[in-house]
Amino acid sequence: MPIVELKVWRGGDDGEYQTFHVEYDEGEVILDVVHRLQSTQAQDLAVRWNCKAGKCGSCSAEVNGKPSLMCMTRMINFTSGDVIAISPMKTFPLIKDLVTDVAWNYENARKVPHFKPKERDADGKHRMMQIDIERGQEFHQCIECYLCQNVCHVIRDHPENKENFVGPRFFIQMAQVNMHPLESVSQKPDALEGYGLDYCNITKCCTDVCPAGIKITDNAIIPLKERLIDDKFDPLRWLGRKIKIGNSK
């Protein structure tokens, strides 16, 4: 079997890269090789994983500096003798080896608006059409791997912004709720303020790394920015709201 040179981060913040030579097969993924390393040379290597099918979002890491799911990074892209650096996600506090503490995301999940449906119809039912909720269904594909949060330079390079910025993963959650035809609360003016939408400078790294292929920037962040502009910066919209026209969301 061919052999690659793995440089794997070991330890906590004061850890170091350790070099291993591990056999691999062309049909494998990085996670297979990490498992082989764990079973043969580094039994105490900490690595978080679950489904090994790109659906659970557990094995997020950085492979040669690129935020990726280890289970979706194919070994066929490497050749024998290649050096592969495997690092934990940089944006989150490191626990050990390749495992980080992503609890900041859970705090944001509680912070952003949640779905609060309008009053039911007179017959006690909620009604909505498939065509109206299709947009939000793209966002259901999110597997919460937090690679988009990890790559976003707003917090990756400036951790001080974590207080004011919920990140791309929660912008799609906000978009999902805000665009819902039955939503009642988050569509009000000012409801989008305070989550750091205006920190995003749409450099699209979140979209680039999303393993679910969600067009985070084009379909969630920019539409939300435009809705925020409706409420904050567009005097024509403001006038329209005052005289009750053109506000048919």
Partner: protein
Amino acid sequence: MKVINKNQFIITYFNLYGVKLVTQSTQEESLLNRYGKTLRTDRWWFEPLLVGIGLFLFIMYSTVSAAILGNYWSYEIGPYLSPFFEPLFYTDVIPKWVSPAIFILWAPLSFRMTCYYYRRAYYRSYFLSPPACAVREPANSYAGESTVPLIVQNIHRFAMYGALIFVPILWNGAIRSFYWEGEIGIGVGSLILTLNAFLLSGYTLGCHSFRHLVGGGLNSFTGSKYQVIRKKVWDMVSSLNAHHKKWAWSSLIIVGFSDLYVHMVAAEWIVDFNTWGSFF
């Protein structure tokens, strides 16, 4: 088992590009937050470099051609008028050194400067914010578009209103280029100006703000016939928007080339093949 230091590893990768950032004696501390820090081994710098050069060349060319040499380099020949000067403002009031293009260029300039695609492009290439994904940016603090001056980017929808006006104006110029001295005809210039109008339409009508305006701001597409129509328009704009980057670059290149072509024909550097014969 060989153990290497985290920062030594970073140095190794930078040296693959022939770039030595710091001396060995200072590497431990100074590399931690230094610009360009990354473990990426691909050519991440190539796209921002290419985009930066491309935008720089266009800005230089358009400034010289339209703003500086406006009245000193003929921009009109036969039925062809450079798109930088469309529609042409004839006036004796303004002095000759003031190019008529400055009455036009504010619209496309403000539209492209605040365009969501171009923002991505120049934030990466010129502001290095970030230069590429997962590559450390040089700034020590960051507030994005939440404060002055970048909060001004929110004028994009107003720039879009201005740019929309120029879509029919450029089509008018393209159609006019098929008519010369009472005779309908066709020339290479006519085709170039028509392609310019087509690509600029695709770019303008695929704009994210326009997408929001036509239907993206709605939460229901089924409440009325009006909303159903807006959904159909939104779908069409969305399909253009999916390739906004391609429309942005192709329309940028063709508008510059159209201007250059008209100048070259007017200066008799090249001959325009057409059905009318010579314009001179």
